[in-house]
Amino acid sequence: MELATHSKISWCPGCPNNQILVAFRKAVTEMCEAGTLKEENIVASAGVGCHAKILDYLNMNTFNALHGRSIPPIEGMKAANPSLTVVAFSGDGDSYSEGLSHLIHSAQRNSDINVFIHDNQIFALTTGQATATSPKGFKGLTRPTGSIEDPIDPLRMMMNAGATFVARTYAGEMGKTKDIMKAAMAHKGMSFIDIAQPCITFFDTRDFYKDNIAWLPEDHDVTNLDAAYHATKQSDGKIPMGIFYQVLKPTFEEQL
């Protein structure tokens, strides 16, 4: 199974997007080898931003949509052909800023799709402006004196919206990222993964994540929404990661 293409990788050398790419290729390869996924039945989409380059490096069905619009096309694909497994790659600029409504409504209707957000907390391809997840005070090109807006909380937002699989992972932890991607693709319903992805050029958070990741304990109850909601934050400032929430509900496509 050859998942690489003739395209040259044009991310910055050392960019954690490469790790997301490797994790995803591994996840797909393992699922295909295990017989839980057919190569021809997977479709990946993306919006526009650094994340979207991933499609050119994937030798599979892909649909490179517009900025902020990676999600509606895969909802259409899933409705048109329910045997497809559909994955939207997106970024924080792409789906927390530009196309936020699609993210929320796909969760509201529990469409059987997967949304993987490359969350680098910055518009990187446009060389450094604040997004909806940039911390307050972030000095970007559009507000050199520092952002005056509080960031959104994507995990809690998606739980409120009705997503039935909510997870966070760190791009640098390729093995865990691959496992969470596999769990998401195996899940029937709207699966959402926020992938912390340091931008090594404009907002390098690698050192922060090195010391501040807290994986969820094994006994975390993924079916308890209240527990999942509170587990997304820790009083010690560490960033909890793992699968916070996973329940089964009728999907949009089943009822259409």
Binding site: H6, P72, G76
Partner: protein, 608 residues
């Protein structure tokens, strides 16, 4: 053959004879001339009242009834943007030959309140009859002697029917006035009162009560058209929106995505009902941007899909329309124009978006835009749009407007008229989504096909579908896409891109498009000067040769449009160099009234 010359007698039911030009123009003379020249009188009836009074339903029932007595009808509902109150009316004009537009001067008004009658006061013919809900009869005594008081709201209340069933009483009274026997009327009521508030039986009872009340009032029936066999109808009552939806279905529609916006909503409503029958799947997502993006995903996955919206919704879809062009994803769009800019006059008509619609999307790529002028043309346009979208893998638009979308006309759409043009299929070997091809059309494959990677993209791309901004690739891919336009132009010649009505050798040509066809055909029937009536249906690709041929030899070209800037006249000049000599433009968010337009045309005619 794409220029359709219609013999005058067929298109017009003869031009008038014996009309002396330059008579003072008023409604009395107009009526006289209609009768004298055509020998085929027209009857115009309005049902008026407040929103929530069942006005449109009353108009629809009357329209079906006159189709049962051998007549042809055109009905326009007019309403403001609100749910209760305000002033709504449904105006229908009928005759024993096809009618292409409703006229403004009323023979009868059926009103559920006094306000409606007062608002139409200047539009009443001298001998007009007013059917009024009884509580308001007293208020109107000063207006006319011909007032018939009917217990509309009272009868509905007594019968336990919804308030909106009241106009059924007026409909029944009208049948008495039109000369139908009580027995004939009852038979027709049973057929036309279908799925409405209160049920069939209740509405038949209300209508019969109206029939009896009109008879008891001492009103003399006015037998304009002899009553013939009432078992059959002259045609199907069809509005542009339903017609375009049927056209999509006839071309193999499998999915429909829409977001409600006047005046396009009823396309979505009709197809949602069809989806309940299991024929197609219909999705109403969160906004117009989602609508078109979802639709592209559906088409990418291999299902025939269409979307609909108003021109404001198309404005929201612009970037994705462009994505359809570059990704070569087949999609058909039904776009209905309403009076802008912005929210504008939300429930009123306009032809002010022609230039916007044909120029949709940033970047340069081929597209199809067809602007039908009546429901039968809208059906064909829907069928053509979906088929062209799939054959040429590019977006295709049917451009309607409020007047065409929501007005009903006696129509004939052949049942079983289906035409599903296949797409170009992949034939083995390494699959390249954007493979260079002599006709510009690359084979189309879908995800789920083994050993096939389908890579579609918004970026300019190589043949495999990987982003590329290399100058050679950028130029070659554009050349590939534009090659498709040659095929589109060639295939378009199988259809009516331009139609000519009236006298095709007349020295005066009238140029028009879209729903303005109706008033132009009606107005021309009131003028005895020979006129060459030229309708442009295809806006993109523009049928330069056909239009030039249709206008060849004309001494005078008069452009008639419902917009401020004469957009078709501008397009004609841009594409052919032909200039219109005169323009008659209306931009008050209402369609032309045939009689008023006839006067304006008469004023513009060169004195010969």
């Amino acid at each position: 053959m794409n220029i359709w010359i219609i013999p005058p007698q067929k298109a017009m039911h003869s031009f008038f004879l014996g009309y002396a030009p330059f008579l003072p123009w008023n409604s009395g003379i107009m009526r006289h001339m209609e009768t004298e020249k055509n020998n085929t009188p027209l009857v115009t009836v309005a049902v008026g009242g407040a929103a929530g009074d069942g006005i449109k339903e009353g108009g629809l029932h009357l329209s079906e009834i006159v189709q049962h007595i051998g007549c042809y009808v055109y009905m326009t509902p007019e309403y403001p943007s609100l749910i209760r109150g305000g002033h709504n009316y449904a105006r229908l004009t009928y005759g024993d030959h096809p009618v292409h537009a409703d006229h403004s001067m009323l023979d009868v008004i059926i009103a559920t309140n006094a306000e409606s009658v007062l608002l139409h006061r200047d539009g009443l013919k001298n001998d007009a009859v007013i059917f009024i809900d009884s509580p308001y009869a007293e208020h109107l005594k000063e207006i006319s002697q011909n007032i018939v008081s009917l217990p509309m709201s009272e009868a509905a209340k007594e019968a336990g029917a919804p308030h909106a069933a009241g106009p059924s009483v007026g409909v029944g009274a009208y049948c008495y006035f039109a000369g139908l026997s009580r027995e004939e009327s009852e038979g027709i009521f049973g057929k036309v009162f279908g799925d409405i508030l209160g049920g069939i039986t209740m509405n038949v009872a209300l209508a019969l009560r109206g029939y009896d009340a009109a008879k008891a009032s001492g009103l003399t029936p006015r037998l304009v058209f002899p009553i013939q066999n009432t078992d059959t109808q002259t045609g199907v009552l069809l509005e542009g929106n339903k017609a375009v939806a049927l056209g999509f279905l006839s071309a193999g529609l499998e999915f429909f995505v829409g977001y409600p916006m006047t005046p396009a909503s009823s396309i979505l409503h009709f197809l949602a009902k069809e989806s309940a029958k299991g024929k197609i799947k219909v999705i109403h997502p969160e906004d117009e941007i989602t609508v078109i993006n979802m639709a592209l995903g559906i088409a990418y996955a291999g299902k025939r899909v269409a979307v609909s919206t108003a021109t404001g919704g198309l404005a929201l879809m612009q970037e994705t329309f462009s994505l359809a062009g570059v990704s070569e994803t087949p999609i058909a769009l039904a776009i209905s124009s309403r009076q802008g800019p912005a929210t504008g006059a939300a429930t009123r008509t306009s032809q002010g978006d022609l230039r916007f619609v044909i120029s949709s999307g940033h970047g340069e790529f081929p597209r199809v835009v067809i602007a039908p002028g009546d429901p039968e043309e809208a059906f064909m346009a829907g069928q053509i749009a979906l088929n062209f979208a799939w054959k040429f893998q590019t977006p295709a638009i049917v451009l309607l407007d409020k007047q065409l979308s929501e007005s009903y006309q006696t129509s004939t759409v052949p049942s079983g008229n289906t035409e599903v043009t296949p797409h170009k299929k992949a034939s083995g070997g390494e699959y390249l989504r954007y493979q260079y091809a002599d006709d510009g059309v690359s084979p189309l494959a879908f995800p789920g096909t083994s050993n096939t990677k389908v890579k579609a993209t918004s970026y300019e791309h190589d043949e495999f579908g990987i982003a590329s901004d290399e100058s050679d690739t950028v130029r070659a891919m554009q050349d590939k896409r534009w090659k498709k336009m040659e095929g589109i132009r060639s295939d378009a010649r199988h259809f009516d891109t331009v139609k000519v009505y009236g006298d095709s050798s007349a020295k005066t040509a009238v140029l028009f498009w879209g729903s303005t066809k109706g008033p132009v055909l009606e107005a021309a029937a009131m003028i005895d000067t020979p006129l060459r009536l030229v309708q442009v249906l295809w806006m993109e690709p523009f049928p330069e040769e056909e239009v030039a041929k249709a206008l060849d030899g004309a001494d005078q070209i008069i452009d008639v449009e419902v917009n401020h800037n004469a957009q078709l006249a501008g397009l004609l000049r841009e594409k052919t160099g032909i200039m219109c000599d005169e323009k008659i433009l209306k931009y008050d968010a209402r369609p032309f009234d045939p009689a008023t337009l006839a006067k304006e045309l008469q004023d513009k005619l060169k004195i010969s």
